[in-house]
Amino acid sequence: MNRDLETLSAFLDGETSELETRRVMRDIDNADLDALSRWQLARDVMHKQSTMSVPAGFNASLSAALAAEQAPSRRPAWLGSVSRLAVAASVAAATVVGWQSWDATQSSGAAPVMASAQDSRMSRPFAEASLVSRSFTANNAVVTPAAQVQPRGNDMLLRHSEFAARNSGQGMMPFARLVSMDARSGAR
């Protein structure tokens, strides 16, 4: 056990900051997993949720997922390079989601962990959320790079943002997305 139980408990409740969350993910060991597993069980019983414990092999599968992520993967570049996402963040997302829907994917291994990231069931609608992004999935994608595609992607983002700004009732939010994406796509 390499950290105080308070942080671990906060992590289980989704109350850790993004930085802490990633630190917990990085340092987690089997003793921690045992503790997490017990607490989760206790909490689920208290809240009368169907129980789902963290399997003992979780640590190994997380490592496998991390290793798999290290391998460079081909990503479509047509929307600019905006799809680049941090390795740690995407694995964290898979982990968080993996726990929530673990009962559906009992078999161990990295594949179910990653697959569950696409699961859109409302298993934990509004617990305090940790902010993590997903690695995008490009199933069935046929990626054929073309030279002129990036400007087109940017034009589409602009048109979509302008539409969304008028129609989503969220004021500047769509433009904030556009600014962020444009700044990042230009960086690479």
Binding site: V97, R121, A129, L131, R159, F163, N167, R177
Partner: protein, 321 residues
């Protein structure tokens, strides 16, 4: 209004209570849309998705009944988006500028729509108080009742009703994106010069296509839409005359929005695929129709499964003369 909101937020503190019909929660959302549209303000905020954080500055003013807004990326590369009434400009990192001006904004821009009918596919709750940018806020949760859209956690300024913090939350409770103000000034001195067009090295416009263009006889129609989503008018534009015009048709449920783009392609190689950034998904797919081969692209803030299902059902039809 203030008192009622205060009393409510006090009484709702710990147990969440769902409020029905024309609820105070609903009023809050309407007030937010109105405040976002009509108030003059400046501020700085964080924009965050995944491990990426941007800092931005925003100023917003209503001048002669028109909205003016300027967003500036403060770190990394300089990007600005400026809205001047019916025109939106984007200054890119390479100092080039893209202009997008609408012919007309249509009969109603949707602050009004949000006010009149936020779809029943969302459950809206007031969730107590919070503090953002040193100001007291009302926390709200907008939870989708199906899996075709995302949920939101919103923090509204109690004084002005402006949206000060916002999270887009997916079905498993993971925040995909966060915006959070750190400073807010509600009485700035903003004139037209504040929203002047920046100097650019190169400029292009996404201009509407002339009425005579043959593309205009095509209509983009979805076979399936998530409940509550409505189609807006179709819009053809082209960046330069040597490139094929691209049609756009927007869809919104009052909170979430996506846009479907269709362009004619020859036998050129095109990219199909899916990519995601924060809550934004982009999907492209080739579509063979009797009138030709098209590339259909959906860009929007909806779950990937929704986007894929919509794009599967997109058809392109030639209008009867």
């Amino acid at each position: 209004m203030m008192l009622r909101a205060l009393a409510l937020s006090l009484s709702l503190c710990s147990p969440l209570v769902a409020l029905a019909e024309a609820s105070p929660a609903h009023d809050q959302l309407q007030a937010m849309a109105e405040a976002n549209r009509s108030l003059n303000y400046t501020g700085r905020f964080l924009y965050q998705f995944g491990a990426e954080i941007s800092t931005m500055e925003v100023s917003h003013a209503l001048i002669d009944g028109r909205q003016y807004q300027r967003l500036t990326h403060l770190d990394g590369r300089l990007v600005e988006v400026i809205r001047r009434g019916y025109e939106v400009l984007c200054l890119h990192p390479d100092r080039s500028l893209t202009r997008l001006s609408s012919k007309q904004m249509g009969p109603l821009a949707l602050g009004d729509r949000l006010a009149s009918d936020l779809p029943e596919q969302y459950n809206i709750l007031i969730d107590g108080d919070g503090r953002v940018a040193g100001r007291t806020t009302t926390r709200m949760r907008v939870a989708p009742l199906d899996t075709h859209r995302y949920g939101y956690r919103l923090w509204l300024d109690q004084e002005s009703r402006l949206l000060l913090k916002s999270e887009v939350v997916d079905g498993s409770g993971v925040a995909l994106e966060r915006v959070e103000f750190v400073t807010l000034n509600l009485s700035p001195q903003l004139g037209l010069d504040h929203f002047a067009v920046p100097e650019a090295r190169h400029e292009k416009a996404l201009a509407p296509v002339p009425d005579s263009h043959p593309s205009l006889t095509l209509t983009v129609t979805p076979e399936w839409l998530p409940a509550g989503f409505r189609a807006m008018e179709q819009d053809w534009r082209q960046a330069t005359t040597d490139r094929a015009p691209v049609a756009a048709r927007g869809f919104s449920d009052g909170l979430a929005a996506f846009t479907v783009f269709v362009e004619a392609i020859g036998e050129n190689s095109v990219e199909e695929g899916v990519s995601r950034v924060g809550p934004t998904v982009a999907v492209s797919r080739r579509l063979a129709a009797p009138s030709g081969v098209y590339l259909v692209t959906l860009v929007g803030e909806v779950p990937q499964s929704t986007a894929l299902r919509v794009i599967e059902g997109i058809s392109v039809r030639e209008n009867q003369p």
